[in-house]
Symmetry: C2
Subunit: 199 residues, 2 copies
């Protein structure tokens, strides 16, 4: 990453400073590694800017503690604000007291409703919607509706979305889309994931 | 990333636990975004495991403070150990007192010498060699020599190498290689990099 000049000078009437502050939607997709870890790297950068960072992990179990969660919530305790939510069988704000499990589909929809409200309210400066492509890909959440909410979001809210098979509607609204492509993976040879590297 | 089973059970005489602790070489290459930020996500995971983490940034200016540097050195102050070195015009351990600038090529070679010694001494548990492909690609550092040092490294040292145009010798020794491929980039439309997202 360089801070150099761009190949095109846009005719958008914005100054360079304004263009540097423009809110962006980033997508990390593809079958390869690094989609979540790159999003977490961006979360660190946002934290260092003093931004309010919200991480919403779809799919991942609510009880699965990852290194990035430990590190970022620790940073959030130092300065800035880091909110960390994992869906599992219900989000922290929806978890039933009666021990009843929420269906994954219902939990995903509840998660998106909460995020959509939060975007309208500018709850965070940087949003990490981890593995958010899956509930869209499965038809649980309407990708066009998400794209519309992203287009309509007020202020300067950056959004990072990760996961395989990113719907085209999200690619269309995104400013930057990266495909992580597997060239060589130890799972091919029977190597297993390990703490410190994979989570 | 799942913790599930692998498609192949390797015939290497190792137990699953041993295989989980096997040292790995990871490469993030390609022209797309996320190579460094994904490496920094892995650094967070390593930190959370209590590992000694060493980040060596080639090419990047020694005075360029990034968010990931702020975040990880802050974490290193809490627990674990995070060493952060940026090459610029000389590393912290080689910087001349006389204000004389070291040639980039010389600095890169000195960096590699120091890292090679450190690998032999098991200085870190997790090494991040950021943008290390460039001095190899430019012919300043011999990729075969690096590959040999990686193969010969003792103990359980994980190494992450980032940068475009990764030499084949490094791909060959790597356990996991991911290509970050640009699908859509705001620079195409004259958008500039910005703090909190790109650094």
């Amino acid at each position: 990453m360089t801070r150099g000049t761009t190949p095109v000078v846009p005719d958008d009437g914005l100054t360079t400073a304004e263009r540097r502050r423009r809110p962006v939607v980033l997508v990390n997709t593809g079958d390869g590694k690094g989609k979540t870890s790159a999003a977490m790297g961006v979360a660190m950068r946002g934290w260092a800017q003093g931004w309010d960072v919200g991480v919403y992990q779809f799919v991942k179990s609510a009880t699965w503690r990852t290194g990035e969660r430990d590190a970022l919530t620790r940073l959030g305790g130092l300065s800035g604000a880091v909110t960390w939510e994992q869906m599992g069988t219900g989000w922290s704000w929806t978890r039933r007291g009666d021990g009843q499990q929420v269906e994954a589909r219902e939990a995903a929809v509840e998660g998106w409703e909460y995020i959509r409200e939060g975007l309208a309210e500018q709850r965070h400066r940087l949003w990490i919607l981890d593995e958010f492509t899956y509930p869209m890909d499965w038809g649980w959440i309407d990708a066009d509706e998400v794209a519309e909410a992203l287009r309509a979001r007020p202020g300067t809210q950056h959004v990072v979305i990760t996961g395989r098979r990113c719907p085209q509607a999200i690619v269309d609204v995104a400013d930057l889309v990266t495909e992580m492509r597997k060239i060589k993976h130890p799972f091919d040879n029977g190597q297993r994931g390990q703490a410190g590297i994979e989570w």
